[in-house]
């Protein structure tokens, strides 16, 4: 196997929205050759979601799609039609990995049958990312990112709190169930690929998004079996404080004093107000117990500070405060710029845009941005040509809406 990182590995992806697309994006970014298969009628639904330049919907300009599919090639294929299925088999026949997030109730119709595919390619590693896994009483349940965030026990932990008790549990922004599924499934798939290098076996990975979220449920998932307690909304239930977001003059800051020296340092930054000597606030546990009182005393001072100034002052004393970064703060961050966290690439329809690159730097496998996300069916001629399909047949397939 030649090349660096994942170079030389071939991945076929049938992804919609985030889970499978993020898993294979991470692989493509490390050098794998990823072919994304989309339906000829509209393609990946992420294309319809945006964000879009000028907020004008356009299937080739969705920021979500563009980000999730950099470094991949894209083809269209209707695998439900006979000829489409034959082509699918040819693609999978040459692949090391097949990654999909098609719902279990739709897999058979699309030809995602492991036994059948393994007969064609015994070394294939097929990763099925599904909401609840392939078996069990809820495996056929319909799901979206929000319902999964609830099914994994994470939604229940956020929102609410003093003054907001009537508000429902609050999700995290965006498509977090999809992203967690994607990164965890990528770990499992590469594990299986590593095993294949020694034992040669292909296999089927049955991956449950619900279980992934349960596995990161922090204190919530273990509290009952250890302490016979249930964690209710972190907002109003913290053993240690301050661990809170508070408003400054020009934005918001996360105040974090876990160690005593951190609190003492912060008190000093505040100019050692008299109330800080009160017994009510003398330990981190007491500060949590008396947070209602403490909060009211701190707020007016914090409100007079600028985020940047308080952040750097605190960090100079090794107090782990953090700005509540806006998107603009990220793009403008000198630190992220110095690390090269954003990189630009030109796309034929969407133009030149900055994209987040990768959160890790591997000394021997540099992250590279080789190509922008594919337009719908952009690589049909190239990929199908390599399978020996000529121009005449290609035209026919197009007419039959197979590609």
């Amino acid at each position: 196997m030649p090349g660096r990182g994942l170079e030389g590995f071939r991945v076929v992806e049938c992804g919609d929205m985030v889970a499978a697309s993020y898993a294979t994006k991470l692989m493509a970014d490390m050098g794998a050759e990823v072919i994304k298969i989309e339906s000829p009628t509209g393609g990946d639904s992420a294309r319809q979601r945006g964000p879009f330049p000028g907020k004008i919907p356009h299937p080739e300009k969705s920021g979500l799609f563009l980000y999730l599919n950099t470094n991949k090639r894209g083809v269209t294929l209707d695998t439900e039609q006979t000829r489409g299925r034959e082509i699918f088999h040819k693609l999978v026949g040459q692949a090391d990995l097949l990654v999909h997030n098609v719902h279990p109730t739709a897999m058979a119709a699309m030809g995602l049958d492991y036994a059948e595919l393994a007969a064609l390619n015994p070394g294939l590693i097929m990763t099925s990312i599904t909401p609840f896994g392939l078996k069990g009483p809820h495996s056929h349940y319909q799901a979206t990112d929000l319902t999964l965030w609830n099914a994994g026990g994470l939604c229940y932990l956020n929102g609410g709190g003093p003054g907001s008790e009537d508000l429902p549990p609050l999700r995290a922004f965006g498509q977090q169930a999809g992203f967690q599924a994607g990164i965890h499934a990528a770990v499992a798939a590469l594990g299986a690929l590593f095993a294949r290098m020694t034992n040669g076996v292909g296999q089927h990975i049955d991956f449950s998004i619900q279980e992934t979220l349960m596995a990161i449920s922090e204190f919530a998932g273990i509290m009952p079996s250890y302490a016979n307690q249930v964690v209710v909304r972190f907002t109003g239930n913290k053993a240690i404080r301050p661990l809170d977001i508070m408003e400054c003059k020009d934005g918001w800051i996360y105040l974090c004093c876990v160690e005593e020296h951190q609190w003492k340092g912060f008190v000093d930054i505040m100019g050692n107000p008299e109330w800080a000597d009160e017994e009510l606030f003398d330990t981190r546990l007491h500060r949590a117990e008396n947070w209602d009182a403490l909060q009211v005393l701190m707020e007016p001072w914090v409100k007079e500070q600028t985020v940047e100034e308080l952040y750097h002052k605190a960090q100079a004393r090794r107090i782990p405060f953090a700005p509540v970064s806006t998107m603009g703060d990220l793009l403008d961050s000198e630190h992220l710029k110095a690390r090269g966290f954003f990189a630009e690439i030109a796309h034929p329809e969407a133009g030149t845009l900055s994209y987040p690159t990768a959160p890790y730097k591997l000394s021997a496998v540099p992250w590279t941005l080789r190509r922008p996300a594919p337009c719908l069916g952009q690589h049909n001629a190239e990929v199908y040509g390599a399978l020996g399909i000529g121009a005449a047949e290609m035209a026919q397939l197009q007419q039959q809406r197979i590609i």
Binding site: Y156, L170, F194, I216, H335
Partner: protein, 405 residues
Amino acid sequence: MNKAPLDGIRVADFCWAWAGPYGALQLAHLGAEVIRIESTTRMCPSRLIPPWADNIQQGYNRSGYFNQYNQGKRSLTLNLKTAEGLDLAKKLVAKSDIVIENFAAGIMDKMGLGYEVLRAIKPDIIMAALSGYGATGPESSYVSYGPPQVALSGMSSLTGYDDGVPRQAGFSYGDPNGGVHGAYAILCALLHRAKTGEGQYIDLSQREACAMLLPEGIMEYVMNKTQPPRNGNRDPYMAPHGVFRCQGDDRWVSIVVRDDAEWQRLCAVMGKPELASNAQFATLAARKENEDALEATVTAWTRGRSAEEATQQLQQAGIPSYPSLDGRDLLANPQAAAREFFVEFEHPEVGKRRHLGIPWRMSETPCTVQRPAPMLGEATEYVLEQIVGLSHAEVVALREKNVLV
């Protein structure tokens, strides 16, 4: 049957708290032998935080938090402040494939265990350093914990109720997310080593790992210099899209309607088929326009029944829905139980407790949790005698010199 994928791979695990341990946990799940290097002189914070088994805080082995996120690993105690302890750590690295740590940037160098030192001992070592800000850049010396990383990454500025304050997502979401991205990078490095024989150094920033999850926010800013408003549980392309109050104390159900056909089915399930043709709600645009009234209508139906009953009825009609599970629901979840997701080992101090297991099943190289989380120092003799190659007498002597604490 074949062995687990990383069988035979050894990890020298210098991690503490949560991010690093969650990354190393993925490697243990895949079958690697993960050896935690611990010390009473620098106790892992997660051995010191609740929940304690039966609410009894005693010793270092009763924390559910520790016992959940360190399943399947071994524990070696070494005092790295002694020359002998440091030397033994290096000898273990010489017998390892991977080193993983999550101290603030530069700490391993100060301890005398930086990459250049370890590479001299084991040329093809893969070393992964997980830190809040990463090893380079003007803020690389800044301290960072998991909870503030959610704010720092930008996620909090996008999360919250309409017009309200920015909110936390999870509690320490930056930690497991940083850890699992670290595990992914390590696997890439392992595959690279298998092909080329070359080891390498991995510098991971947990803040950047969290920012990777926000393309809908970041790309909107890149394109339009604006960012999505905080809008609770709502979605611009689907409605209803929320978490609704049910019968009982603090019980909720999540419901999402993806298109007009699902809306019509929801109306039927709610016993209000006439609503389906009501122009106020008939199209996505109309439902978004009248979303407060829409949510009130749905709540009027959900609050009369349990979250489980609502889910069952909605799923029968093919509408995405699930109860908002709390911790107790989670451990009793029939789907996860049917898939044998939960892990219950007999632990010498805390007995049998239910833990969360591995979210994937491999058909040919099964991954199973091998053992409960380690008691502090439980494998010290095993590691030093079987792996490092000391005699039993040497280990006894080191113990007397307080090196193995």
